[in-house]
Symmetry: C2
Subunit: 483 residues, 2 copies
């Protein structure tokens, strides 16, 4: 039988602000080794025995970024399948949609392996062994969970209580328990009966769908409707299915644990230890790299004087520090975080406050990803805004027009084909052009390397909403008008 | 008799890194109220009774910045006189030069009031009263020092010991004492005989020169030579005298205390309390503003969660902080300082280490001041560099040429007159032009408001040394080639 890994991506990761933001969620965060959690999850999934396709359920706003992350790694040429949600609806609708899709494409006996995209597993061999155990049980009709042997009395996770042994490596699940208090968590660690619930599952799709039919029929019906009304596109090795937003809105916002796992009698657990971390705070990221002799871990240029046990991440700016201990210092182009390392969980309070204020530093980074590449606001001032625009090979920006601003484009690397009013011409490296207000314009990278361009906007009004968009190869409607 | 205040500017202020740097010394630092220490000193000096001219001894590299700072404030139209040193040589040569200049220009009985530019005095009325007392003594032939009543057992200052009383408000000086240890300093505070030596003096120039002749004849001779060989320029209300570097190098590098005050028998002291601070650390700057209910003082946008007694200065970027107490956080475009507030004196260790490394963050800010205005490097990357250039009204950049780079100029405010190869033309707001490699070019601001321009350089080589300079209205030679 076929094994289809299904990566579930989502979640803002407010405890990892200012690097993780609503428009740059935790799965995309680069770890100190340069890979994102999403890429690591994809690697883990795609190199499992017998895997030919990797399915991903994610939000359509991050589709292009997700594909970009995968393509960089997809050396084994796995087929990439996507179910794109119009908005987040928790895990139950996502997993139900995955099950229906896999059943239709791969048959009743295909196995689904659910993998959250925002977790780190350092012992990949142990992960593969656990998946082998889970597949055997799944084939016998169990909904299999992965239970992590707790390494500390964690109060931030749910737990799975082991029941009757099914084999030397698996147990029936006695019950799921919510996040415990500190005393209970300590008892769990010492008792040996309780395991962390990592949100990873393995099951046959026919079993999963039958159980959903019993325990969550309305949810299943809504998701079935949603897939029936989807829009799909297929290319070589890539399939993209957009879930219909009207019917998806009818699916309840509920987790798979609550909708199904806590209700079903067919749930088993495979205990495992595989160097797992949910990377739930800066403290967890700090532990990924080795400390120097003073207990410090630094990325970037630092000058330290009597500084101990600090984590400093500053890619672009020099950091000088005097007389500090046990702080987390995270520097990004538009925002700086300084926190007591013991309280790194509370960073979410900052993110929540920014969200409440409607502050852009909650939502976006200075660098914004678009289907065609990225742009970075380098500087904004009275009457001007400067962006660095990177356009991927063969990509293009929509034909557009601005009423109030001039745009000056200077190519610093690569080549551009520019439409400016009635003219169309090539712009080579070191050349520039000037778009007057009211002129329609379009930009294409006809080459095979990235086009890097500096755009200087000048004028009385420089809001992103001063745009009239005429055509867009990425299917974005004029209302979603962004550069 | 005429009173000539003489402002002595100098000193890098390494304990105030990253705001104070070698090329942006402490006197130019903006305090929270927006004024620099230099400006505050100028105000204090220029509003004294009977003052018509203010003399300044400073380094020629900071002349234009100093004049800019003064002109903004000089509503009383004081005459501005400058003695420009080719390099720093401590206070004795500077004060000797001031005395010789004032004697030649205002006569033997003119009084010199020496004011260091890097001190803050909050009680200006008390300062003026002290100056009145000092003038009386000076007229009687005393070299008058100002002795600050110590408010704490400070080990970082020198002390003046009071001798015989000369009046109800003045004493002969018994002796000068070097920086004491903590126990001695505590005894000084309790004993009531010792005062802080603030480096402020008042004396008749004939008395000062006679005493220098007795106690430091070689120094006086060298400085006399140096003034004899100076270059001077005089405009309406402004006099600029450049000291000759060859003869200035012969003057010993020595303080006026050591060269003269500790040796002369004619030294008096006026005790005073006038809200004086040497602004010697971030701790001192923190104390200038009022704390909120949590003891925090913040400039800029911050989101704080359980943060107490912190000083946060971040003009451009959002700062999020969690669980901090008693830290100094200073954010600048290219460097960030985080320090335990109790150890803010040790910030100099960071500055010294950067100096040892030859790091640009020791020397310069991203924004560099030039005679014609400023430029700020906004972004540097492979094959491009972006600057914001601000040209003062009527100012111009030298006629120049680059071999390896193109320059794209976009006017975002004001108007420019551009020479580009054979062409000369006006560039209005929102317009741009393009300077090819090898083309001579010049930029003038013909208007009455600042010209603000974005310059995008592109090319294989973007070093500041790729410049051939043909003419320069500010008298800079081609070897000193900077934009």
């Amino acid at each position: 039988m076929q094994l289809i890994p299904c990566i579930i991506a989502g979640g803002a990761g407010t405890r990892l602000w200012p690097v993780s933001r609503e428009a740059m969620p935790k799965p995309f965060m680069r770890l100190p080794d340069g890979e994102s959690l999403l890429q690591k999850t994809f690697n883990r999934a795609s190199q499992l025995d017998g895997v030919e396709s990797v399915l991903t359920v994610t939000n359509r706003d991050v589709y292009f970024r997700t594909v970009d992350d995968y393509r960089l790694l997809n050396k084994r040429q796995r087929s990439l399948e996507f179910l794109l949600e119009p908005f987040g609806r928790n895990t139950a609708p996502a997993i139900a949609a995955a099950a229906l899709h896999v059943q239709a494409r791969y048959g009743d006996d295909a196995q689904l392996l659910i993998l959250p995209a925002d977790q780190l597993i350092t012992d990949v061999a142990a992960f593969e062994t656990a998946v082998q155990s889970a597949r055997k049980l799944a084939d016998q009709g169990w909904l299999v969970t992965f239970g992590l042997v707790p390494s500390r009395a964690e109060t931030g996770f749910g737990y799975i209580e082991k029941g009757q042994a099914l084999s030397s490596e698996a147990y029936q699940v006695a019950r799921f328990v919510e996040k415990p208090d500190a005393v209970t968590a300590q008892n769990y660690v010492e008792g040996g009966l309780h395991l962390w619930n990592a949100g990873m599952f393995c099951m046959r799709v026919d079993v999963l769908l039958a159980e959903l039919e019993s325990h969550a029929p309305a949810l299943l019906a809504a998701v079935r409707q949603c897939l029936a009304q989807c829009t799909s596109k297929e290319g070589r090795n890539e399939l993209q299915i957009e879930l219909d937003s009207t019917s998806f809105a009818l699916a309840p916002d509920i987790s798979i644990d609550y909708a199904l796992m806590e209700r079903s009698q067919k749930v088993a657990v495979v205990p495992c230890e595989m160097g797992w971390s949910d990377i739930g705070s800066w403290q967890a990221i700090r532990e990924l790299s080795a400390a120097d002799e003073n207990g410090n871990r630094c990325n970037g240029e630092v000058v330290l004087h009597d500084v101990t046990n600090c984590y400093i991440d500053s890619k672009k700016r020099l950091v000088g520090a005097v007389g500090l201990d046990n702080l987390i210092i995270i520097d990004t182009p538009d925002a700086l975080l300084i926190a007591d390392a013991n309280r790194s969980q509370e960073v979410k309070v900052i993110a929540q406050e920014l969200k409440r204020q409607g502050h852009p530093a909650y939502l976006l980074h200075n660098t914004v990803t678009r289907p065609w590449g990225t742009y970075t606001v380098l500087e904004e001032g009275k009457r001007f805004k400067i962006k660095r625009i990177v356009v991927k090979p063969q990509a293009s920006l929509s034909l557009q027009m601005h009423h109030h601003r001039s745009e000056h484009w200077i190519v610093v690397s690569g080549m551009a084909r520019v439409t400016n009013g009635e003219d169309e011409f090539m712009l080579d490296t070191n050349e520039s052009t000037f778009i007057k207000p009211g002129h329609t314009h379009r930009l294409v990278n006809p080459g095979v390397i990235d086009l890097v361009m500096i755009e200087v906007q000048s004028g009385e009004y420089l809001g992103e909403d001063d745009i009239v968009r005429f055509t867009d190869v990425y299917g974005r409607v004029p209302e979603a008008a962004k550069i």
